[in-house]
């Protein structure tokens, strides 16, 4: 089901980018493809703000891992924009990394932003000036060339127009600014996907999308290049979280605001189908000690806004020295 959705999405995206006549407002925001219900996602994130678990090891690990990348670069990032997702975990994990002076926190959920704002006074003062705003990643309200770093931790996989959101992030960056994002990848919740499909087939004689189509690792590099980032970098991490029962997994997803927000979802779930899903999950994947593993695949993406100081390949045909001469110079001993 997921695979089908993925290809469907890709073909429709492709169609959109080639058509000009029937898509009058065909700018980067003119996406007609609606996969996710963004309004519902806001509501879910409002709820997640109340259910949030500050000791969530998955979220904290991902946030820490993402920010760890700032230590690998010499550049400092005085002005930083933090997009939705695990906003609060990012704020806690910054701890002076990247020499951030101003941090702008944005989320599509007001309650989530308010939570971060209220939590601000509990944090040890680290001389970061924070500002808060409610905004949508698909309609980024940030002036072009105004921030040094854009961080997005586990939020962008819910955007309908991921390339568009990334292009807007790039435009918001100053030249030589860094884009740093973590999204859930296609292997995420594969066990639940299988269990859902089997239980639905068995109880209802068909399947409906319960788990969203996610980007694959191979897509991530293309996304970065398509959005125009230079020096793109992608790497993947897989986390296994163990739960006592399948219901606990759902509770966790709810607390993260990661529950189903597909436009084409069926809006109710029959109780016996839900229980069947839990039973299938347990019988197929439970470990010997009775715990239930769930896989979370996180794709980390880094990209830079173009700047002349960055290394790049020379223009084709601009070489002034023949390879034969180089060979004569350096490889003389081997070839002759």
């Amino acid at each position: 089901m997921n695979r089908l959705n993925g290809t469907l999405l890709r073909t429709s995206l492709r169609r959109r980018s080639f058509s000009t006549a029937d898509n009058v407002d065909g700018n980067l925001q003119g996406s007609k493809v609606q996969i996710f219900d963004r309004h519902l996602k806001r509501k879910q994130r409002d709820r997640a703000a109340w259910l949030i678990n500050r000791k969530d090891s998955l979220v904290n690990t991902v946030a820490d891992n993402l920010l760890d990348r700032l230590e690998d670069v010499k550049k400092t990032f005085p002005t930083t924009l933090c997009l939705g997702g695990s906003l609060e975990a990012i704020r806690r994990s910054v701890r002076g990394r990247g020499a951030i002076q101003k941090l702008i926190m944005m989320d599509s959920s007001y309650d989530m932003v308010k939570l971060c704002k209220d939590a601000e006074k509990d944090l040890a003062s680290d001389n970061i000036e924070t500002s808060f705003m409610v905004g949508d990643e698909e309609y980024l309200p940030i002036q072009a060339s105004s921030v040094d770093l854009v961080i997005s931790c586990l939020g962008l996989h819910w955007t309908n127009d991921l390339p568009g959101a990334m292009i807007q992030s790039r435009l918001a960056l100053k030249p030589d600014g860094l884009f740093l994002a973590a999204i859930f990848g296609g292997e995420t919740l594969k066990e639940l996907r299988i269990a859902c499909t089997i239980a639905h087939m068995e109880r209802e004689g068909g399947v409906s999308p319960r788990i969203s189509p996610l980007a694959q690792v191979r897509d991530a590099g293309n996304l970065l290049t398509r959005a125009g980032f230079t020096l793109p970098g992608v790497d993947v991490d897989e986390y296994q979280v163990r739960y006592n029962s399948a219901l606990e997994l759902i509770e966790h997803l709810r607390a993260m605001g990661e529950t189903n927000a597909l436009v084409n979802r069926i809006k109710f779930l029959k109780k016996d189908t839900a229980l069947a899903t839990a039973a299938v999950y347990e019988s197929m994947f439970a470990a010997e000690d009775g715990t239930i593993p769930a896989t979370f695949q996180v794709i980390y993406m880094t990209g830079w806004r173009e700047h002349e100081s960055q290394q790049k390949a020379k223009r084709r045909g601009s070489a002034t020295v023949s390879f034969q001469d180089i060979q004569k110079e350096f490889g003389a001993g081997e070839t002759t």
Partner: protein
Amino acid sequence: MVRANRVVEISKTLSEILVCPLSKQPLRVCEKSNSLISDAIGVSFPIVDGIPCLVPKDGKIIEAEVSRDGDSANTKRRYHQDGTGGS
């Protein structure tokens, strides 16, 4: 008093970098209604408790400013207000 406090809450950092999410044009702070106004498209975005809400769905189209008769009526009214134009 409370109102006066609420108005100055939007930080300097934000006012420097925020633009209209739809048109990417500059925003203007309206202290009377406590909102950010995008003149380019005539939409106002609320500031709730010092947090500007710039999701397109939160925006409200400003109706009072848009006159049905088009531009001429609009400019005429502006003249009146400024007191520079004739009656």
